[in-house]
Amino acid sequence: MARGVKSPRPPFAKVLVANRGEIAVRVIRACRELGVRTVAVYSEVDAASPHVLLADEAVCLGANEPAESYLNIGRIVDAARRTRAEAVHPGYGFLAENPEFAHACREAGLVFVGPSAEVIAALGDKDRARKLADEVGVPTVPGHPPADDETLERAAHRVGFPVLLKAAAGGGGKGMRVVHDPVQFREALHSARREVRSAFGDDAVLIERYLERPRHVEVQILADTRGSAVHLGERECSVQRRHQKVIEECPSPAVGPELRARLCEAALRLVRAAGYVNAGTVEFLLDREGRFYFLEVNTRLQVEHPVTEMVAGVDLVHAQLRVAAGEPLPPSLAEVTLRGHAVEARVYAEDPEQGFAPSPGRILCLREPQLPGVRVDSGIRAGQRVPVEYDPILSKVVAWAPDREAAVAKLVQALRDYVILGPRTNLNFLLDVLSHPDFLAGELSTHFLEEHFPAWRAPEPEEEVVAVAAALATRSRPKTAAMNVRPPDPWDRLHGAHLP
């Protein structure tokens, strides 16, 4: 460090990051920037993963099953104690919204980087969150809280089909089902309960009226321990598949200054009433008439937080760590100006031509895009095996430009430059989505993908591409095959075939 430059005091001496993949890498990077030492945790299959290699220390939690590793509260708290970490950052997913984990950290004398266990429990429970929204005058969608099968079925008829089933705990689209036909209600409910139980260990499911073609818009908030709370504008995340966001942007093309003011004010009213501390997101559905309905609060960092960071010029993980250390929000945050436009695409190991089935496997070749204004938050490296046990997200590519059109064009270029060979990925699919006329026009709804891409097929390769593949097939085999032990080779047999 240059002499005479005064660096701010690190918020903690050491932080344990209780996650894996791209979000663990992203949080560890933020800690390093602040001069905070880091502890990674990992399951056996992740021993040589990027987040483990990047951290100052690493602790193996156990076997690959989430219950033995990233969901094991006892082992994570024990790892934090043994490494003398002061704080635990949960990332997103896994234990990030588990009040028992926040509680266990506090009991062990560790700072949990997030709201208190009580606030997580109150807001993470979607039914209690809705009640709070009703109390403070934030509009909600008609529905029914978790109950037994019979009560929910009666309520579904009262609310009116189509209805949406979702988990009372957690997020990420787990357990979500839209039921159009009353006859299918029971089967869908049982399937949702099973999925929710295996993801969160609790099978409470609630129902809501399903709005046709709404947009998904959400507000990023930050609150400190001194009672001060600010918003950092909204994000639009309407491009979703099975309630998993695929493309997100900031700001929303559908939100002008007047709507933004009302939306963000509603979000702040809710989090202030909840006594919220740290970073959080208030999600809304926005209908065609500009009416918004409270959906839920995510009491953690969002996957799509980088689009806000790029437009607001704020590092949310830095802010999370400083707030967790008891520091007040800097006054500059109350006057944040949104500058330009940012768009994020999530890159998944999945095969869009096989119903988006997860596609685990070894990363054989990897080359990340490098363009000014493009950020790649990645959790993979060449040679690594993408495990079957966890969420198939590989990385996020975020592009910033002064306006939306330029940001989308830059993201397209970045995704075209991105080489990931081995697992099937959604890269080709993302490129087609980003080039769709309705996407370019900002004409979005949460049904965008099912309406415009109901059965997507990759474009057929040009003859020249097939020619290159054929030439490689006859030439490159022996040199590059060293990466794998191969079964008997059908190519070799084919080489002997002759044209009649």
Partner: protein
Amino acid sequence: MSVLRLRCGGVVFQAGVVPSGRGTVVRVGGREVLVELRDLGEGAWEATVDGARWVVHAAWEGEVLHLHTLGRTYSFSPARESVTRGELASADARAPMPGVVTRILVAPGQQVAGGEALYVLEAMKMETVVRSPRPARVRRIRAQVGEQVEGGAVVVELEAEEA
């Protein structure tokens, strides 16, 4: 001339390959394309395609050739049968992805309707219900609950129901 049958997505291409000087002449779709390759290392290749210069990244995974060029990613596999992958996958209600069998909903000898749920597979935290592609009788169950299966594995063997 040797002949390759390459499948990419659902389409099978037939390519005739003739070595020619420093390159390869590939006959595909009624055209002849001259391809010259230079290995740049780490999976990168320079391909001169009828005089135009392309950068190509390529990697083998078993018998599959993964390839990236001109902003797109492709996977080519040798086509031995004329059956497409979709048909293969549905013939015996194969696992659509690697995963763990969490529930088996049918028993050997049972008659199932087209679309009836056969078993549940969990992979990467998502539950997938695998359904029968057509009316059939269950011949055999080839996996147990809790078993990890590969993508394409036959979990429930079906025999077509005689009309």
